[in-house]
Each structure stands twice: as structure tokens, then as C-alpha cells.
Symmetry: C2
Subunit: 221 residues, 2 copies
Amino acid sequence: MSAQQPPKHIGVILFPGFQLLDLCGPLDVLNILATERTLTLSILAATLDPVSTQHALQESKQSDFGEKLVPTHTFDTAPDDIEVLILPGGYGSRSEEKIEGAVEFLKGYYPKLKYMITVCTGSAILAKTGVLNDRRATSNKKAFTWVKEQNTAVKWVAKARWVVDGNIWTSSGISAGIDLIYSWIGEVYGKELADLLADQSEYERNTDAGDDRFAARWGAV
Amino acid sequence: MSAQQPPKHIGVILFPGFQLLDLCGPLDVLNILATERTLTLSILAATLDPVSTQHALQESKQSDFGEKLVPTHTFDTAPDDIEVLILPGGYGSRSEEKIEGAVEFLKGYYPKLKYMITVCTGSAILAKTGVLNDRRATSNKKAFTWVKEQNTAVKWVAKARWVVDGNIWTSSGISAGIDLIYSWIGEVYGKELADLLADQSEYERNTDAGDDRFAARWGAV
């Protein structure tokens, strides 16, 4: 556990077409942590309009299927004391227009953070800010070829459930964000608490950051 | 796989203090399914106001931590062709006032459904409608004693990741809803598709409904 005071203010970033579980997997664990520790959540987006998960692949199947989450602040009105930012991925990460607000915000805000966390192709978005240059990071394995093309100055790690480099934690695709957040809570708030939260959530953790069969499954190695 | 046409219209129920992952775990899998099949989602609540996960246990820690999801319909304006309903649990399930709209809606709507799915203490809410009487069902294991008290006419199963009885699928606590939904998709849309979606989500499934170490962990057996 880190000697410094554990974070009390967590922020998350929304953009159109974000992947629901990328965000809600880690957030649900933090929701439970907030019954044990005093925590504040800020939900940031380009505007205060609810942000939908829906994207073009669903629309191409004539599906009308998506969920909208409500932001608490815009990028322009974000509180200045957020210590941890969580950035999800999702199909929307492939659209420059949908993520440009997040990219500009992260460029300015990253230096203030204690921790930066990305899930899935959230690392491809973060890579566009330059802060991952020369750092080790991972991402979604089905999308790994596309992710690497977004910034070749990043030391992309194919076989990893998650990767930690300095204060930046990046996870593999979608579900991997849940394993990342338990490991991060173990590091920052203590291992016993992380295990208790996982048992309360009835979750079987993968506690080995190198244990990743999906890299081979999707041809990333 | 069932011989009948697979469902095209899925509904979910929100109430204040619902558990985020109970709902968003299964929904994220269905979001991906909606890129392979034509699906519609309706999100039902007492009113059209966004519904928050926040509850008293967080507030007692002075935490300001929660997320709001946006309904698409009220219980009074729900479409009449929903085939599958998903009901999450959460701390809000302990408040009669917070769930009374859902209970009344379910009493009237259940006979129209092809499938009813509950996650976590969602089964305690469904138990209040009477439709679980004399049926086998499971629920959250930490809350199991309280759940059983809600309706003793239900055949509560302590050691189960999920239980199927007729067209009602009930899962154990929080994370167990994800294993339930993959199994349900395997049954209804085909096993190959369920496995493909899990690989896309980089999720390690528990495919054994009887494999549940949390019943012992929380003293439910």
C-alpha cells in the first residue's frame, strides 16, 4: 500500500459510444468501496447531456440498443482536485470527433493526477495525448493492431491482463478492467479491502497481470 | 437452443439504489449481441427522471458517489411487446418505497414474458410478486438470510451461481449476473455465439451453475 494518503476524488470520462462495462465494471467496485471509505465521483463529458453507449455497429444491424449515463461536469467545469481518472474505451474511440474533447482535457489534466487508469481501447485515446510515449501499456486484444497504429511511440504489451507504468494503469479489453481495479485498490487502499470487495461482489479475480489468454485468441501475439 | 424465435425486445428495470454491475454486466454483453442480432432495449422506471445507484451506505460514509442511468419509458408507458425483463438488485431493494412501482409492474407484466431474469437481490424483489412461489431461485449470498425472509414460499437455493426454473433465471450476487447472461445467450441464441461474445469481452466464464464458493464464504450454507 502506498504511503501517501489514498485518493478521495475519482473522475471518469464519457464519450459517445463508450463501452458500458469498461466503465461500469470498475465503477461498481468503487461504488462498494465508497461504503467503506469517503469518496467523491465526478463524471466528465463534453456537455451535460446524457452520453449513450450506442454506436454504428449496432445501428448497422438495425438494433436500437444502448444506455445513457448522466455527466456531473463538463470538461470545462471539471473540479480541479480529481486525483484519479478512469478512461473507458469502446467503438466510439475510433471517431476523432467523439473523443477530441477528452483528448484535449487529458493533455491539460494528466499532470495533476495521482493515477490515470484506462480500460480497453481507452489506452488508444490516452496514447493520442502523448503521455504514454515510451511507456508500457496494453489494450483490447481484438483491436490490438489498430491500437498500435494510433501511436507507435508507446511500448505496447500484447500479452497482459493489465500493465502498470509509473502512475498509469492500462487494462486489456472490456472485462479486464475489473481485474485491474481490484489490483489497483489492493495497491492503494490495501489488499485485504480489495479481497473483501471482490467477495462482496462474488467476483473471481485474476490476480496475475501476465495471465492473458486473449492475446493469442485474437492474434495479438 | 430453443426452437422458438429468439427474443428481439429486451427490457430492464431501474429503481433508486440499484446495483450498477447487476444491470450493466448483463447489458454490456447484450450491447455486443446487438451488433450480431437485431435487438431493441427498453429501460423502465417509475418516472423518466435519471435513476441513481447511490444509497444510504455510501451516504453514511459521507461519500458522494453514484451514477445515473436514463430510462426510456415509465412503468405506465412500457411497450407491450417486451419479451425478456432483467431486474437488478442492490441496496435499494430493501426499501419498499423504492421498489413498489417495479413490484406492481412485474405482477402485471410477467405473464407476457418469454423470460424473466434477476441478478443479485433482484430475486428478493421478484419474490414479492408471488411468481417465484414454489419455484427454485437463488440470490446474493451475503444477503441470503434477509432474502429468504422476503418470501418463504420460494425454494431458495443457497449454493448456485445461477438457477433456472421454467422461464425464470435468477443469479447469485452482483458479478454472477455476467455468468448467467452468457449461459442464457448460449441457451437462447446458441452456444457458439455466447462463446464468441465472451472472447470479445475477454471474459473468463463460469459455465457451471452449481460452482459457487461464495455460499460458504458468506455462511449461506
